[in-house]
């Protein structure tokens, strides 16, 4: 917080309290903490007060507090809880939670001013009367840090992953991120989207290879080759060195459904045609007891960890000393 702003609304109370010592004053300490790292622009709003239309005012100043509370502040001022404590340090969190944005849209319209996002864009909220405005939100998205602009087709789009929104700069429309995910726009800017979402690009496109170090560990976790394991009254499994076969009680080949897919057998070889995550899920379910599925984390050498993932299913397989553990993310 710079010292360019005069918070004269607080002067009287600070003067009165000085005698007791400001250092022991918890409420003041709280305000100081909340303002740490904030800039003047975070507490500055545009007023629509007659005769001063368009002027910048600060919360914490006498005229700023007064005009703001009377509803002359901009509805596009992003009001955060700490702003209320600049107006009245005695307000508790519970009091603040009940407060509404005081801006009055009628005054703003009468002043004929444009809505520009201001205040604390990261921590605050605009007045409900304008908070859903697509134009305002597009402006906020382009000003906010952490947003990225991408191009696709004739348009440019601001991705606000925190708000789960994509803003079209051409039309001003906004879209939920989920809607965008099925589109050309998403795949045209795949890396950007996945970086913003914290997703590994490899995850949704490439399936991690069935690592050679995992295969022997998995086979060790299985019963001895040649054994028949009864899983349920409906089916059993025949274990071979390189595969698992499903059979019915009459020892006839049987199809089972795993993750909506039908299987007659699992190929356990490296490069086999079973999706690793499906196989691991299956083994974990049916051999969890014998495979020491839960290992203490401290005993795991994470250098040997192998991540096996698909779009919907991400788990880390940790191989160590002939055991494996599946750690659900």
């Amino acid at each position: 917080m710079t010292s360019e702003v005069r918070l004269d609304a607080l002067e009287d109370i600070i003067k009165a309290r000085k005698a007791k010592g400001l250092s022991a004053w918890k409420k003041f300490e709280r305000v100081q903490e909340e303002l740490a790292g904030k800039s003047v622009s975070d507490i500055t709003f545009t007023t629509s007060y007659p005769g001063q239309e368009g002027q910048a005012k600060q919360l914490g100043s006498l005229s700023g507090n007064l005009q703001f509370l009377l509803g002359y502040g901009s509805p596009a001022f992003y009001l955060a809880p700490y702003h209320w404590r600049l107006i009245d340090m005695n307000l508790s969190d519970a009091d603040i939670a009940k407060k509404q944005h005081p801006a009055n849209m009628k005054y703003w319209k009468e002043a004929g001013l444009d809505l520009e996002p201001e205040g604390d864009l990261a921590a605050g909220k605009a007045s409900p009367s304008v908070s859903s405005s697509t134009k305002l939100r597009a402006k906020v998205a382009s000003k906010k840090t952490g947003t990225v602009t991408v191009r696709s087709g004739y348009g440019s789009f601001v991705i606000d992953a925190d708000a789960n929104v994509v803003h079209s700069q051409e039309s001003g429309y906004m879209y939920a991120l989920e809607v965008v995910k099925n589109s050309y726009l998403y795949y045209d800017n795949l890396k950007t989207f996945e970086d913003l979402e914290g997703v590994d690009t490899q995850k949704s496109f490439r399936l991690a290879p069935f690592d050679s170090s995992v295969y022997p560990v998995l086979t060790k976790a299985l019963p001895f080759p040649g054994s028949v394991v009864r899983c349920s009254p409906e089916f059993s499994m025949l274990v071979t060195p390189t595969s698992l076969h499903f059979i019915d009680p009459q020892v006839q080949p049987l199809e089972v459904r795993v993750f909506d897919r039908v299987y007659k057998s699992f190929d356990l070889r490296k490069g086999g045609d079973t999706h690793p995550s499906i196989l691991l899920q299956f083994l974990h379910e049916y051999f969890a007891d014998t495979a020491a599925a839960e290992l203490p984390l401290e005993s795991i050498n994470l250098d040997k960890a192998v991540t096996i993932s698909s779009e919907e299913d991400s788990r880390t397989v940790v191989a160590t000393d002939g055991h494996y553990a599946v750690l659900q993310k």
Binding site: Q100, Y154, N164, N182, Y184, S232, V256
Partner: protein, 454 residues
């Protein structure tokens, strides 16, 4: 495989002129988009083997059957550019105009052709590639496609619900909840018995209130009675016993119905938005206040704290706002005309209207006007509100006729009541363009979304 393809008249392998571009879809239910030499997209069942998107469980890539190709549906192609269009121009179409100012990089000029239907409605036609590659168009087009598939979805669900097999009934209930209940399939598969709460004839699912019809209520009772609260609500009998239904299963059924669950939610919220807005604006509420209240109501309906405004179609919001502004202008004009007609005599007789009370800074608490959503197990058609919204949706251009806040295109497109002579384009070229970009007069009269009375 090649023999099967040949038998169905499909390409026996990937067409050598088709290049894989991207994959679309979710939860393992994907379409693989390939592009030909003319820039047209084709859907395949898989990516090429050497591509990282290749799914080893999906078999060889073959072209999906239900899409127009040059050989089976030449009417979908522009004979000059060989570009596939979003729709085939009907044979009885009149005034078919090719957009000479077509520019794929210009939002207002991206439409390719227009025509007047036999019923007298104007329609725009686009290159399908432009729609796919430009997200604003794609989103509007997806909403329109979703609208077209609502009735087939409902018929399909009702038919399934009437079957005796519990698996069919469970799937039908899920589809109905995705449709009428505005749930995402990913939410539905996670539902447990404890998530459903019965209050007289009302059912509360994850905080969302419904009034199901007797058959639906019976179904809910049957899937919850005698079960533990932490058990999955929707289960199927499998080789392992009862297992929760998988999200891929639901997505594959939706894909079969050519539907996308996100677009379905967006369609419902857009439709509900127009309905609420028309009610609130009729009460002379300002647009900003009405919109804030509408979103609060929608949040209440969905019992969601997240921002629902992003799910409402931008083109719907723009149109409602434009309509509001026009209505306001018309009202003001009418008032000033009345004043002139009375020559100030009225002002003497009647006291000047008192200034509206200053709006309080604390707004009213969230209303629950929308109440509980009805759930019908026999709903196989669109209700009147939806029909009204649907007819509007299909007549609105996909491209943005209001660029950067200017109403010029809107006026040209016949949205306003202004005298067409009053704003003539100046140059010949502009006149030509204005004529060719004449949009259907869809917005007058009926309004978007119908009324609450229906």
């Amino acid at each position: 495989m090649n023999d099967i393809n040949k038998a169905f008249g499909l390409p026996e392998s990937i067409d050598p002129s088709h290049i894989f571009v991207f994959r679309t879809g979710e939860y393992g239910v994907y379409d693989y988009m390939y592009k030909d030499n003319f820039g047209n997209y084709y859907k395949y069942t898989n990516a090429p083997k050497e591509d990282p998107n290749y799914d080893p469980y999906a078999g060889d890539a073959i072209m999906l059957e239900d899409q127009p190709t040059m050989s089976n549906s030449p009417e979908y192609y522009d004979p000059k550019s060989m570009a596939r269009l979003t729709m085939a121009i009907p044979q009885d179409a009149q005034d078919v105009i090719e957009n000479e100012a077509y520019d794929e990089l210009e939002p207002a000029r991206i439409w390719f052709k227009s025509y007047t239907s036999a019923a007298g409605d104007s329609r725009f036609v686009y290159k399908e590639t432009d729609v796919i590659e430009n997200f604003d168009l794609w989103a509007a087009h997806t909403l329109r496609l979703t609208d077209s598939m609502i009735t087939p979805l409902r018929r399909f669900s009702v038919n399934l619900f009437r079957q005796e097999n519990i698996k069919d009934r469970v799937m039908a209930a899920i589809l109905m909840l995705a449709d009428q209940g505005m749930f995402e399939p990913s939410e539905l598969v996670k539902l447990t018995v404890g998530d459903i709460e019965f209050i007289d004839k009302t059912v509360k699912i994850m905080g969302r209130k419904f009034v199901p019809d007797p058959d639906f209520l019976d179904f809910f009772s049957s899937v919850t009675s005698g079960r533990k609260p932490d058990e999955s609500l929707f289960v199927l009998k499998t080789a392992y016993g009862e297992r929760p239904i998988g999200v891929r299963h639901i997505y594959s059924v939706l894909k079969f119905l050519k539907l996308n669950s996100h677009a379905l939610v967006s369609w419902h919220l857009s439709q509900a938005y127009t309905r609420i807005m028309s009610r609130l604006l009729a009460n002379k509420m300002s647009f900003e206040d009405a919109e804030a209240k509408a979103f609060m109501e929608l949040s209440g309906v969905l019992s969601s704290v997240s921002d629902v405004s992003v799910w409402v179609s931008g083109i719907v919001r723009t149109t409602v706002e434009g309509n509001y502004k026009l209505a306001e202008e018309a009202r003001k004009d009418q008032e000033s005309a009345q004043k002139k007609a009375f020559g100030g005599a009225q002002e003497e007789r009647e006291p000047a209207p008192t200034e509206e009370p200053v709006e309080k800074s604390i707004t009213a608490s969230m209303s629950d006007d929308f109440g509980a959503l009805p759930l019908f197990s026999g709903l196989s058609y669109k209700v009147p509100d939806e029909i009204s919204f649907s007819s509007w949706l299909h007549s609105v251009p996909l491209h943005d006729t209001v660029i950067h806040g200017q109403m010029l295109e809107l006026d040209e497109a016949g949205f306003t009541d202004q005298d067409p002579e009053s704003e003539k384009p100046e140059s010949n070229e502009e006149q030509k363009e204005a004529k060719s970009s004449k949009a259907p007069d869809f917005y007058q009269g009926s309004g978007v979304g119908g009324s609450d009375d229906q």
